[in-house]
Amino acid sequence: MIFTDNLTKFFGQTVAVDSLHLEVDKELFVFLGPNGAGKSTTIKMLTGLLNPTHGHIKIGGIDLHRDPLGAKQLIGYVPEQPHLYEKLTGSEFVLFLADIRRIPRREALRRMQRYFELFELVDVSAGLIEEYSHGMKQKIALVSALISDPQVLILDEPTVGLDPKSAHNLKDLLRHLVSRERTVFMSTHILELAERMCDRIGIIHKGKLLAVNTLDELRRQVASQAGTLEDIFLQLTDEQEPALGQQIFKAR
């Protein structure tokens, strides 16, 4: 459902994403990488917010460059920071996004009620977004992405700011979506979350995709059978970091 070929992004002379090849279909794919590795840049290119320097992106077989509107019709996107229209209420915002996704009003309201109940937003749905906490804004961003029942759901750090119950509900919901043959592409820093719920993991570092596989395959790949995802991640991204950390503490 998501296909990228030789996807590259330069910011001036800096390579943010370097020749990325990916195929993600009807699964929960977790994208891991240290800060500045190129996760958010990749996600912004997948959602049409950034134009790639080279390469192609296809969403559901539709070329994002040639038919951006057709490709975007299949996507639901939750950005890293929930910058919503502060002067709209939560329900107005979600309904507005349902309108621009051409969802019948009655159906949009039904879905909104369901998701608002799931994320415990019903009581505050008529309050202005400027008065919401970060977690509440994050939930509204999630609902607005889910309201169109997208074929492809792209989430950039979706659990940041969520309370434990909502984070748990989100995990269940994502698994449920995958069982309904939806594609979920998610970036996260929470390795435990990735370890527990993903089908496959992609690890990106300095713009390059280092590994894409299931957790078991990754373990085999890096020859650390008993290791956790954290061990694999650290081994693949930068072997020096733990040693440096230990050195700093020893020096003290």
Binding site: K72, P104, R106, E107, V124, G127, E131, M136
Partner: protein
């Protein structure tokens, strides 16, 4: 406290050095911004030289003029300072970090006072400094006068700021921060409107058509200003009194009462402002949202349509809702609409013949166009970072731009129609003229909106947090220059056609010009939005 101020200064310098659009246009805009106060100073000097030739006590007149200018500025600084103080003292994002540091809290609030005062500096630069500089130059003051201007300026800026902080503390103790800031902005807008209305209605020539705009009587009234003892209570009198001691004819011994008044005022008000803002800060912070603020889904679902809502209507409704709930844009628009209606109300009788019979409509169209320009230029950056949701949706940028054009044209068009009807009824002009004039004015509003969208797409800040700067300075300058060029070209075409008695050709050319502007403006706007790389 010095470290706190230094870091704020570093932020300003960094934002200037690394901001987008570091190009020739930006440098020109900056140069104009720097040179403008000097041009105002030159204008003031020319005025003072003209007064010198009159049979009146011109030294007293200049003194009173400076005091009155500073008094008006003091009021503006006070009312502008309230919303700035609410932001810097209670809503700024750095407050949580600063308050958790091992720094005495009074120092944080004192630093915030200076930050608020300096945020008001631009008003002083354009409205206060030219009068003081011109006064010094006119009296051939020595270097000490200009040196003393620096501490005097800081003290003068601090006084209205501290009063504003006191009032803002009271407001946020009664209302939520957002609501208090909305009210503060509404108050400032109302004061601006009052100032403008006051100046407009006080012109003597408005009531006495026979008299010219210049009246010696007005100057004599200005001379009488110093006889009032009340004016001695205002800081405007203190600063001018303090500075006049450094004039050639002044004596240093006379500066002490004014200096003590300035220093005493700053110390006492500063202490009170710090105490008041800290008292509010230590209060229980307001709860995010009411727990009884939910939507009744069952009734809404039962009455909802089974079809999607029309797309353009959704975009239009969203923009109107955002404008309606944003006090800045609402008040700004209300001020323009107020000016438009006052313009129609106080219009002198229109000549029935000649090109001058068209001028009132040109004026009305220009003002209505200004409303459209201002609104449309802000409508794109007004989206803030939320624009990410529209950009990532399967929605053509063309539709977004068209919806915004319609929004600006609808608001400005309604205001223009109301003003035009007032004008026609007051001047007893035949209503048969209405369709032709209305169509031409509406087309000029469409053009102004397109120019605004064009500039907004290229020079929008796209940052919600920057309250006063949603359009860059260069963008503001370009939008007004672009609009002025359009008005000039349109007026030239219409006036030319009128004089050579080829009105139909002139109207056709005007139609072509306006259509071209609308086409180019909207096309460039949505192309830019399509291309924009969202590396936020």
């Amino acid at each position: 406290m010095w470290s706190l101020l230094k870091i704020r200064w570093r932020c300003v310098v960094n934002s200037l050095q690394r901001s987008r659009g570091k190009n020739k246009a930006r440098r020109i805009a900056l140069l104009i911004a720097i040179l403008l106060p000097f041009w105002f100073t030159k204008q003031n000097l020319a005025l003072f030289s003209a007064w010198q030739l009159m049979p009146i006590d011109h030294d007293l007149l200049i003194g009173n003029y400076v005091r009155l200018s500073l008094l008006a500025l003091f009021m503006l600084l006070f009312f502008a300072g309230i919303s700035i103080a609410i932001h810097t003292h209670f809503m700024a994002k750095d407050l949580t970090l600063l308050m958790s540091q091992p720094i005495p809290r009074w120092q944080i609030m004192a630093a915030k006072q200076i930050e608020t005062a300096l945020a008001n500096f631009l008003l002083f630069l354009y409205l206060g400094l030219p009068a003081l500089l011109a006064s010094g130059l006119h009296h051939q003051a020595g270097w000490l006068y200009y040196l003393m201007l620096v501490p005097a300026t800081l003290l003068f800026l601090l006084l209205p700021t501290q009063l504003a902080i006191l009032l803002s503390s009271l407001m946020v103790s009664l209302l939520s921060y957002h609501r208090a800031r909305r009210w503060a902005m509404a108050l400032f807008a109302a004061v601006l409107l009052l100032f403008w209305g006051g100046f407009y209605f006080m012109q003597l020539s408005r009531y006495d058509p026979e008299s010219s705009s210049f009246q010696l009587r007005n100057l004599q009234n200005l001379l009488g200003f110093s006889t009032g003892t009340v004016q001695r209570l205002f800081p405007s009198a203190w600063i001018s009194g303090f500075l006049s001691a450094f004039m050639p004819e002044g004596s240093l011994s006379s500066l002490w009462p004014d200096l003590f008044a300035l220093l005493g005022g700053v110390s006492i008000l500063g202490w009170l402002a710090v105490r008041a803002s800290l008292a509010v800060w230590h209060r229980d912070r307001h709860v995010a949202v009411s727990s009884k603020n939910g939507v009744d889904f069952s009734s809404r679902i039962s009455s909802a349509s089974d079809r999607p809502a029309p797309l353009m209507r959704s975009l239009f409704t969203k923009d109107i809702t955002l404008i309606r709930r944003d006090i800045r844009i609402t008040m700004q628009t209300a001020i323009y609409i107020g000016m438009l209606c006052v313009y129609s109300l106080v219009m002198p009788p229109i000549d029935e013949k000649g090109f001058s019979s068209m001028l009132p409509y040109v004026g009305l169209g220009s003002l209505a166009g200004l409303i459209a320009l201002n609104l449309s230029a802000l409508l794109l950056p007004f989206e803030g970072l939320s624009f990410i949701y529209l950009k990532s949706a399967s929605l053509s940028m063309r539709k977004i731009v068209t919806a915004k054009l319609l929004t600006a044209v609808a608001i400005a068009g309604i205001a223009m129609t109301a003003a035009l009807l007032i004008l026609l009824f007051r001047q007893r002009i035949s209503l048969a003229l209405l369709p032709a004039v209305w169509s031409i004015l509406l087309l000029s509003i469409c053009s102004a909106s397109a120019i605004g969208l064009w500039i907004g797409a290229f020079y929008g800040e796209f940052k919600w947090e920057r309250v006063n700067h949603m359009l860059t300075f260069t963008g503001q300058l370009f939008s007004f220059v672009g609009y002025a060029l359009y008005v000039f070209a349109a007026a030239l075409i219409l006036a030319g056609g009128f004089y050579i008695e080829m009105t139909a050709v002139a109207v056709f050319l005007f139609l072509c010009l306006s259509s071209a502007v609308v086409f180019c403006g909207t096309l460039n706007s949505f192309k830019r939005l399509d291309r924009i790389d969202w590396s936020l």
